[in-house]
């Protein structure tokens, strides 16, 4: 694959995904969709690491492991976030970002 596709193309792809995630994080009003945007970001980052590993350091596996750990942490974070969202829904009855404002001064 290396011969056919230049590295910059893949990297541009992953950065597009990354910035889509950021845009979604800023725009979205629902907590769950916020979470989905965050998952997009993490996914883009994993692609980045793997691609670097393959193109620039094929003898080593650091990129792989990094991506592995990122995926693991993303899973843990998503679990806790979902638990929190469920709790917030029980208390406030809504999962809009504006409604979670009880501790605001």
């Amino acid at each position: 694959m290396i011969q056919e596709i230049p590295i910059t193309h893949v990297l541009v792809l992953s950065s597009f995904l990354f910035f889509c995630g950021i845009c979604g994080f800023i725009i979205r009003r629902n907590l769950i969709t916020l979470l989905m945007a965050v998952e997009l970001i993490l996914n883009a980052v994993s692609i980045n690491f793997v691609v670097f590993n393959k193109y620039l350091f094929p003898h080593q596996m650091e990129g792989l492991f990094f991506a592995l750990f990122v995926i693991g942490i993303a899973a843990a974070e998503a679990a806790v976030a979902i638990a929190l969202i469920i709790n917030v829904y029980r208390r406030l009855g809504s999962i809009q970002v504006e409604d979670v404002a009880e501790m605001k001064y």
């Binding site: 950021i22 994080f25 800023i26 725009i27 979205r28 916020l34 970002v97 404002a101 605001k104 001064y105």
Partner: protein, 638 residues
């Protein structure tokens, strides 16, 4: 002989103050009173023991009593000789004062068991009495100027607390404030005097300043506005003494201080605190004599004027305690006069000895008079003599005690006052004839107004009393009896053997002429008083009408209080104080408030930045990261 036990004399009253002050509410009143009285009794015995041991110490050689310092604790050291210590200095004057203060304090404690019974704040009263005892005794054994100043102020505070004891009465509060402010103002002069003196003498210590005929102060030769610096310093020190001892014109607080309970007046404003000024001058006497003789003359004149002034006013007052207060002023004037005319050295220091002897006897008979007056007030519930009369039938013991006090103060032979007043008159005759005549006149006036008081209260018109007039309870009578006895006997103490200016023995010559002159004028005074007041008649009325304006002025204490009030209100308050207050409120506070307001405004505006919205944070983070990256690239490529 180890005299370190002396420190107990001071620790015990302080402990009593602490205990009664903190836990007095939990003790029964009677117990608190007995505790305080008991401890004061122990303190008195310790003082007697100290005196006994001191005067027999082998240190005294060549007939001179050396000062002894059993305890000294260094507190602040500024330089080699300039060091502030807390210690105990025992010399004849100090030991005499210890005995006097503890004895009068014991009598007052005992008396108050009966007088203050049932009063609210009984324990607080005894706590303050103990505080006063502690402070006064520590003052008289001060080893240096700093310690004396500390306890000087403490005594002032105790006096304030005790005058304002009935704190719900506005008159008492005002009187306490007045006393404290006037003495505090005088203490300003005292402090400046201390600083001047210690700067030039290089030390605070009494021994070093006064020793060797005050030679350490003599080296100073600079002068300011015509007076040497030493003279200024001693003048300022006298200002402090004048405030505390109520010399004219700083005497205004003493008559008002009678708002306090009568035993307090007996202890503080007759026997002990007001003589602190005399004590101070006596302490610093060598410096006055050798380096500021002009100030010494001023002291004599002030004392003479005060005694005459107060005696005139006392003839017109109608409140029993006020008459006694002015009498105190007059007698302290005597003491100052005597100090002022005194010389130094073995043959010449009659004035010094006489002054302190008079202090000793005056403490006894004046406290006796006050306590007896207290018994009368307690029985009749009335302060004004216009509503008293014929009490000799109802209160025989009090009558006797009061009579003994009056005879003592008038200077009748065989009573203690005669001996001490004699010595003063002799000293005045030897040094300053004009002042002798003033003193002689005042002796006559003293006899007159005291017996005016006596006859009006105990003889005079028989009045009908609404409540039954009882004799005082036993706890009040016994101190009266003891004090009466001492008032007679104290005159026979050979005082000159113990106390004199240079520590030597001092013998006074006996001038029969002066004795006869003083007794004669005293008897004349008594006879005039008897004629005017023993039986109700119209003579006093006619006399006051004839004296007209002078009488009215004397009755209103020559309007000195109004003068002071005028000065403070019109001159100090209105232009100066109001302006300063305005500046303080609007400029100083205004600046601080402005800073606070600005901070608040800024905070209010900035608060919106932390909205708590995570998306906002994410937006700003992304934007900033992009911006920073752009910046870095721009910088790296250029």
């Amino acid at each position: 002989m180890n005299l370190s036990f002396v420190v107990l004399i001071f620790i015990l009253p302080l402990l009593v103050f602490a205990v009664l002050g903190l836990a007095g509410m939990y003790l029964r009143p009677r117990l608190a009173g007995l505790l305080a009285t008991g401890i004061t009794g122990i303190v008195f015995l310790l003082s007697l023991l100290t005196a006994w041991i001191y005067f027999r110490l082998p240190v005294h050689s060549a007939g001179i009593y050396q000062p002894v310092i059993p305890v000294s604790f260094e507190w602040l050291r500024f330089s080699d000789r300039l060091v502030a210590t807390l210690g105990i200095l025992l010399d004849p004057v100090a030991v005499m004062m210890l005995v006097v203060v503890s004895f009068v304090s014991l009598m007052v404690h005992w008396y108050s068991l009966g007088y203050m019974q049932g009063e609210k704040g009984f324990q607080r009263y005894y706590a303050f009495l103990s505080l006063f005892t502690f402070s006064m005794m520590s003052l008289v054994v001060a080893t240096n100027l700093v310690q004396m100043y500390i306890f000087w102020e403490l005594v002032g505070i105790s006096s304030y607390l005790l005058i304002g004891f009935y704190y719900t009465r506005p008159a008492a509060i005002a009187a306490a404030k007045k006393a404290f402010i006037v003495t505090r103002f005088a203490d300003l002069g005292f402090l400046i005097g201390i600083l001047l003196l210690s700067y030039y003498a290089g030390t605070f210590d009494f021994g070093l300043i006064v020793g060797n005929h005050a030679s350490s102060v003599g080296v100073v030769s600079s002068s300011f506005a015509g007076l040497k610096v030493v003279e200024w310093a001693m003048l300022l020190v006298f200002m402090g003494a004048a405030g505390k001892s109520a010399m004219f014109p700083l005497h205004i607080w003493l008559p008002d201080a009678m708002e306090g309970p009568t035993p307090v007046s007996a202890l503080i404003h007759a026997a002990t605190m007001v003589v602190a000024g005399v004590y101070l001058i006596a302490r610093m006497f060598p410096v006055y004599y050798f380096h500021a003789p002009a100030v010494l003359s001023l002291i004599a004149y002030t004392g003479a004027f005060t005694s005459l002034f107060a005696a005139i006013i006392a003839c017109t007052q109608t409140d029993i305690k006020r008459v006694l207060a002015f009498s105190t002023l007059s007698q302290i004037g005597y003491m100052m006069l005597s100090l002022g005319v005194s010389g130094y050295g073995q043959q010449d220091s009659a004035g010094y000895t006489a002054s302190l002897f008079h202090l000793f006897t005056h403490a006894m008979f004046k406290s006796l008079l006050f306590l007896a007056a207290g018994a009368v007030i307690h029985a009749v519930h009335e302060n004004s003599i216009l509503r008293m009369g014929g009490l000799r039938k109802y209160m025989p013991s009090t009558h006797l005690a009061f009579l003994v006090g009056c005879l003592a103060i008038a200077g009748i032979p065989f009573f203690s006052g005669f001996y001490s007043k004699e010595e003063i008159l002799i000293a005045a005759w030897e040094h300053h004839k004009a002042l002798f005549f003033v003193a002689w006149l005042v002796a006559g006036l003293t006899a007159f107004y005291m017996f005016r008081l006596y006859f009006t209260v105990f003889w005079g018109r028989d009045r009908y009393y609404h409540h039954p007039v009882n004799e005082a309870p036993r706890s009040m009578r016994i101190p009266l009896l003891v004090l009466s006895f001492i008032s007679i006997v104290a005159g026979y103490v050979p005082f000159g053997r113990y106390v004199s200016a240079a520590g030597h023995f001092s013998e006074t010559h006996f001038y029969p002429g002066i004795a006869i002159a003083s007794v004669t004028i005293a008897l004349i005074g008594i006879l005039i008083a008897m004629k005017m007041y023993a039986r109700p008649n119209a003579f006093p009325e006619k006399l006051t009408k004839k004296m007209g304006l002078f009488y009215v002025a004397a009755c209103n204490r020559f309007y000195i209080d109004e003068g002071y009030l005028f000065i403070t209100k019109k001159i100090i308050f209105n232009p100066i104080a109001h302006t300063v207050a305005w500046v303080d409120r609007h400029v100083v506070d205004g600046m601080v408030n402005a800073i606070a307001k600005i901070t608040e405004e800024i905070a209010f505006r900035i608060r919106k930045m932390q909205g708590g919205q995570v998306q906002e944070y994410g937006l700003i983070m992304a934007a900033s990261a992009t911006g920073l990256a752009l910046l870095l690239i721009y910088l790296a490529t250029n």
